[in-house]
Symmetry: C2
Subunit: 499 residues, 2 copies
């Protein structure tokens, strides 16, 4: 990809250059930069160049042009460094610098129009080129903002390529056909029977005793047939997730439109809140605007379930012999601000999931993913008696970072489990098994004593989804459920009756 950089900057020195340093000395310095310093690391004929310079009192003005090999802002930092050494001989220091103008041009697809970019004051698109005028200072250069703008543009280009195309989906397995005993929407039927009722929040349900019994039965089956035989131990993962975790897990790159944000009071001082309380008491209305000014966003509620677990191991080195580690969590709710497609307990904002995490060396993690797959198949076949299929898809952590395609390593990825809902004919993803490679140990700095790469995998069991698939295919009458399931669920409790 062709790129051109043009940077105008001014270095401010601690003393007058015109009085201390001769023009020819500076000319020699610039020559040295243009032949050596600004070419280092670039292919022959490439790199950056000081195209113009001028000295006025304590200031030296520079115009640097470059290709993509030594980008002009890198070149400027190199020049600043070298110039500092050079001036040192004359007992002059560099006090700072000002970026007057930074123009970047790159080849660009006509169709992909851009309106706004951070740290960019002007965007022009013409004849296959994108021209940016940046609004940056020395601090921004040190933070490598221009490089990150370019990476962002590459991301946007990548996203555009995938736009409209389907997500990766590759059939791996299809179960046997099974009889369906029901052709209605299970949520509707559960409501009718008083098993569930819509809660006061968006996409949120209250489960009565029957529905809860079904959820706990699914959990029991998972525990008895999969987690206990495999030696899993239960943990309690946090459910509020601060940004520091989402920065590491990558969710900070893309979670925004779907997050349930959590804000905490700026202070707990009752006086600070008195006006809000008074307003509520006088109007019976919660003053949302007043509240928004008194709280600050600190993160969000559990979205993917495993990221906050990793703080437990953060920064630690573990002995190889304790591998593989197998833990699970079922201690709370997960949230997604779902799109227009909210639908019963099938697609909702607040849901309940058992999260399974295993950690080991590469072989252990891949091997255990296969063991899990085999066990899941037995559970779906023998206990739920459902019809389903399995597909190799874009890894969940890439999807949640807003990326498409597949992981670089072919062993890293996600298997989605999907089942058809007879009432709608649609396939519902109800389960996944993922090998996440070394992503999490790396991001959270967990190391293995032997120095070998540490890998991990995870699998989320959404109770709402399992229940939906079971009830959609078999209906709500226990006598249509598999005998093995019935023996665990027992008799459904009857507690409420309404007139």
């Amino acid at each position: 990809m062709n790129m051109e950089f043009q940077l105008k900057a001014e270095l401010k020195c601690s003393g007058s250059l015109s009085e201390t340093v001769s023009s020819s000395e500076i000319a020699d310095f610039v020559k040295l930069c243009n032949t050596e310093v600004l070419k280092k690391g670039a292919p022959p004929g490439c790199g950056a160049e000081i195209e113009r310079w001028n000295v006025a009192g304590e200031k030296i003005g520079l115009k640097i042009v470059s290709d993509r090999f030594v980008r002009a802002h890198d070149a400027l930092l190199r020049v600043k460094n070298e110039f500092g050494k050079f001036l040192g001989k004359h007992s002059i220091g560099i006090r700072g610098m000002e970026i007057e103008d930074y123009a970047i041009a790159m080849e660009w697809e006509e169709g992909l129009r851009l309106k706004k970019l951070p740290f960019v004051k002007e965007i022009k698109q013409e004849e296959g080129w994108l021209k940016l005028s940046l609004d940056v200072d020395e601090f921004s250069l040190e933070k490598r903002i221009p490089d990150r703008i370019i990476r962002l543009l590459e991301d946007k280009r990548e996203a555009e390529k995938w736009k409209g195309k389907k997500e990766h989906w590759e059939l791996l397995f299809e179960s046997n056909k099974k009889p369906f005993y029901f052709d209605k929407d299970p949520t509707e039927e559960m409501i009718k029977r008083g098993w569930i009722r819509h809660a006061a929040g968006r996409g949120q349900w209250i489960h009565g005793p029957q529905s809860t019994r079904i959820f706990r039965t699914l959990e029991r089956i998972l525990l008895d047939n999969l987690l206990e035989p495999f030696g899993y131990e239960e943990m309690i993962f946090p459910k509020f997730v601060p940004w520091s975790v989402w920065k590491k897990s990558g969710h900070a790159k893309g979670i925004y439109p779907e997050a349930y944000y959590v804000c905490t009071p700026k202070t707990r001082d009752p006086e600070y809140w008195e006006e809000v309380v008074d307003y509520y008491k006088v109007t019976n209305e919660v003053p949302l605007d007043m509240i928004m000014g008194r709280i600050e966003n600190v993160g969000g509620m559990c979205y993917a379930q495993c990221p906050p677990f990793w703080i437990f191991m953060q920064g630690k080195t573990i002995p190889d012999e304790i591998l593989p580690i197998k833990v699970f969590d079922r201690s709370g709710t997960s949230y997604r601000y779902e799109s227009g497609g909210l639908h019963g307990i099938e697609r909702l904002d607040e849901f309940h999931r058992v999260e399974i995490v295993w950690i080991g060396n590469k072989e252990q993690v891949i091997e255990h993913a296969k063991q899990l797959q085999a066990k899941y198949r037995r559970v779906f076949d023998e206990f739920l008696d459902i019809e389903w299929r399995e597909a190799w898809v874009t890894p969940w952590f890439m999807v949640q970072e807003g990326k498409a395609g597949l992981a670089e390593l072919k062993e890293v990825g996600t298997i989605d489990y999907e089942a058809v809902l007879p009432y709608s004919g649609k396939w519902l993803e109800f389960q996944n098994v993922s090998v996440n490679g070394d992503k999490y140990p790396k991001e959270f700095s967990v190391k293995l004593q032997s120095g070998e790469e540490l890998w991990s995998g995870c699998s989320g069991v959404g109770l709402e989804r399992w229940a939906t698939v079971l009830l959609a295919q078999k209906g709500l009458d226990p006598d249509k459920w598999n005998a093995k399931f019935r023996s665990v669920v027992g008799e459904l409790p009857e507690v409420f009756r309404f007139l």
Copy 2:
């Protein structure tokens, strides 16, 4: 309490009064108001009075003064109504009204200074009187804003009375003395052993396998010895709580300084969020200000656990024969933005609780509260083997609405269970049993077929608190735990080891 009201208002009519209605007719009308309409319902010699009036074209100006019996704003609404009837005879209607000035004066404690009140433009405090100048319109009068301001003032006066005084606390019971085997802070010791680690959020912990096993054991003991024998059935209560629920439960009156607020995106449109994503990708910093402008507050996370359950029964009538109803929930986390006193798993922001709710007629609810108390005592004595005491305190729902004192009915209230922590000598509240009277059925409009009053009770079992008390008194070595507890807990799992 002495109060004086002075209201100046102007009624606007659909036609000119000066041309249509004679002054003497209006004078007669005003006389009628002053002798009858504005005295109705007040003790003899009390009530409101139109002190001055004047007509100018289509407008009639009124000055109404009153005591607290027919408050001037009520008087104005009465006058408007009567005047409408009177003008109707002349084929003139009332188009609206303007409040020019509304002054309220009331006897007031010198010491209780007020700075700001909603709908009040000026506050003066002198010689034992509080003088308010209100900023209200017709709509505010119809919404009874002035009455609510007065109620708010009464609340403030009540709160002042309790300030500095201790909360109500009356010892009901003390357990036998028990041996203590530990004198350290259990959280510190759990950290040392790697059982728990502080999570990334404020007052939030990750529980490893050992700690989780202890929590699940406590839950098991509760289930086997209390919930199952009493015929409780499990439900799943919502964990996000919208304001509509907290308005009914009363939490909207006082929860603000302690809430974990939940905000949702104003839209899920990815374009709306692109700037945020771009900013993050370019700076690696989450742009909290940009986010705050794109989200809206919709409620908060679970604080008290039972309020959102009541939506399940809202607006329903239930047959008497299904009583008592006994349900519990353990489906997620609760949150409190704790004050400076954050301390380990003892006092924290994110915690885990089993919430127990029973519903019946008054006798059933009171009777079952006693049964629960008896069973809890057995559990604490036989399984946890701890030393504790029980006290009659201000009902939890009053505390959470910012009220002090006791409920009006003596059967309604909360018993707190407290245990001493040997390492600090402090008493920790670790449990409560509450009879909530008819509060919840009333607020959520749940009725009994017989018409009898429906009551409810609740009891929260905080797993962190139970564990803290057990470990603080007995220590972390299983051989110091009671045999009954040990037989349920089994061997503590060892999964992690760090170098």
